[in-house]
């Protein structure tokens, strides 16, 4: 293959992979804190892009993105307080059904608020025609923003969990809820924070890729399924592995255009993902014994 074309596909794969990684990280944060898989996770990435695109009409771009992330995080926390508190007691089935209901409500609310049209966001630097070039391949500076944001997310999250008091408290709750509350940590608050964090990260991902991929009210369900499979493929709960798996999926999807028609792009990737789930549900880096111990 032509090396410039190869790089072109490569960058496109990085962009899509980053948003899958962001959604997958959100799945992991909530899963670690509560054992819940939040089927509405992809909807927060949709909210991030849509909110930012609306707010950018009034606010400077950086403020619009920050506000979108904050609003999505608040929506995440609120949905946990209203609908999901104690959902674990209702069993796996109750959790699935509740979060699916939630995802539909968010999607329909977005449809009512923004209508069915496709939205986009201004480029963070330059415009749609500005481009950088490496080895003859041209790509938008936005790609660097996407990669930077992903790196920042992973680094920031690791630092948060390892270095800050709150991050340590959250890890404590995940390891042993009763033990953590004996140490004076409020587990309920930690769960709410986990939902806010997961929603915020998804929204940030959704906003950063929006100039390149565009966004509309209905992208959440697909992001959820891809993000979940990426999280499962990396080994549920492992955020670093999720980033690797997310980028791999982005590459697969991007290069699949070479062999299959564009309309079937998602069909191929979802089929591959399902195949992976069937063959190795414990994930790429996970172990079967660890999976067997998990409540799911």
């Amino acid at each position: 293959m032509h090396s410039a074309l190869f790089l072109q596909y490569f960058f496109s794969g990085l962009v899509y992979g980053s948003i899958y990684a962001a959604v997958a990280i959100g799945f992991n944060i909530v899963y670690n804190a509560t054992g819940i898989i939040n089927f509405a996770q992809g909807e927060f990435a949709m909210l991030g892009g849509m909110l930012a695109s609306t707010l950018a009409l009034r606010l400077p771009l950086w403020a619009a993105v920050a506000a979108a992330v904050a609003v999505a995080a608040a929506a995440g926390a609120l949905s946990e307080r209203l609908f999901l508190r104690g959902a674990a007691k209702r069993g796996v089935f109750g959790m699935i059904v509740t979060t699916i209901g939630l995802s539909i409500l968010i999607r329909e609310a977005a449809l009512l608020a923004w209508g069915p049209s496709v939205r986009t966001l201004p480029f963070f630097s330059g415009s749609e025609i500005s481009s950088l070039s490496i080895l003859g391949a041209h790509f938008s500076p936005q790609v660097l923003w996407v990669l930077g944001a992903t790196a920042l997310l992973v680094g920031g999250l690791t630092a948060f969990y390892k270095l800050t008091m709150m991050g340590k408290a959250m890890r404590g709750c995940a390891a042993d809820r009763a033990g953590a509350s004996l140490c004076g940590i409020n587990p309920d608050a930690m769960v709410t924070i986990a939902f806010a964090l997961a929603a915020g990260i998804g929204a940030l991902g959704g906003a950063v890729v929006a100039p390149l991929t565009q966004t509309h009210y209905g992208i959440g369900a697909e992001l959820s399924i891809k993000g979940f499979t990426v999280a499962a493929f990396g080994g549920l709960g492992d955020s670093m592995a999720a980033v690797v798996a997310g980028l791999l999926l982005g590459m697969l999807e991007s290069f699949s255009i070479l062999v299959v028609p564009e309309a079937y792009k998602d069909v191929v990737t979802i089929c591959v993902l399902l195949g992976l789930l069937f063959i190795k549900p414990s994930g790429l880096f996970g172990s079967r014994t660890r999976l067997a111990l998990k409540e799911y």
Partner: protein, 354 residues
Amino acid sequence: MRLQRLLPAAILAACAFALPPLFAAMGVAFLLTQLTMSAYYALASLGLCALMGYAGQISLGQAGFFAIGGYASAFLCTRDLGAAAAPSGLVRLLDSSGLLVRWTDPYGKALLTLAPALSGLCAVLLAVLVAALLGTPVLRLKGHYLAMATLGFGIVIEKVARGTKALGGADGISAVPGLAILPGLSVTGGRAARSANFTIAWIVLALGILVLTNLVRSRPGRALRALRDGEEAAAAMGVDTARYKLKVFVIAAAFAAIAGVLLTHYNGSIGPGEAASTRSVRYVAIVAVGGMDNLVGTLVSGLVLNFLSLRGVFGSFDDAVFGAILILVMLMSPEGKAARAFRSLLPKRKVAGR
């Protein structure tokens, strides 16, 4: 006891014959159209009830099987086989066996196609085959993984329907002919056939609930419930869990496919919206409202909710209503927050002897 088991089916069958003249006398015969469609959607929900309520296997792909049935039958009975200059041996063989029909579509084009009854049968068999192939790996998954995998299956079916030109892309397939089940009786739209089709749909629904009631009240049915309440325990009791799960998965798919075939021929068209994940969620919501392991409850909620939705009662909130229903059902369930809050409002009952 046996009579009680027959009761829901008997009521449905009685309604199938009694409601058309009654509605005609009341001047509301137009309602029969939506009640016919609701019956087919309820049939698909009943299949899901057996799978989800009794066997405890969540599926977010029921609409996928519905669409496979509808699309396959619509495709096979509108695909012109006579266009080729020299018909192949297979076409000649089918033609001489009387399995092909010559007709003219609404646009005035003469067609030689598979007979709708045969295309419908093929469509259901296709759905059963897909379910059998998919079920083996999918049903090894549990909980979240099973839900995601079936959701993915549904999305794949919708994307294929939307992206394939031969299936009409975003427009779907229209001008689907009626499906003749008896001489002079066929599943088709239009005012003249309205009463007869209402009767057909409700009789099919009655048969459906009869089959499933017998299934869940029998030895396999008890095996399914044992499986739901504890897979390891059921296996230890000698239940071949994998086989039972696969069987009920295939049965659920067959119910959805039959409903899809009949509704497609009744409407005369099918579109990719029938395969959408929101549709699958709708089936789940109907089963949840019906009380999960409750066939009669699912039947009633399926008829009522679909009827209201088809009458446009929910307006532009159509999908949102079903999402809200799911959350409410869970919050109202005995373990749910709303139910506990409600109970705390009630006066505490005094326990005798304290």
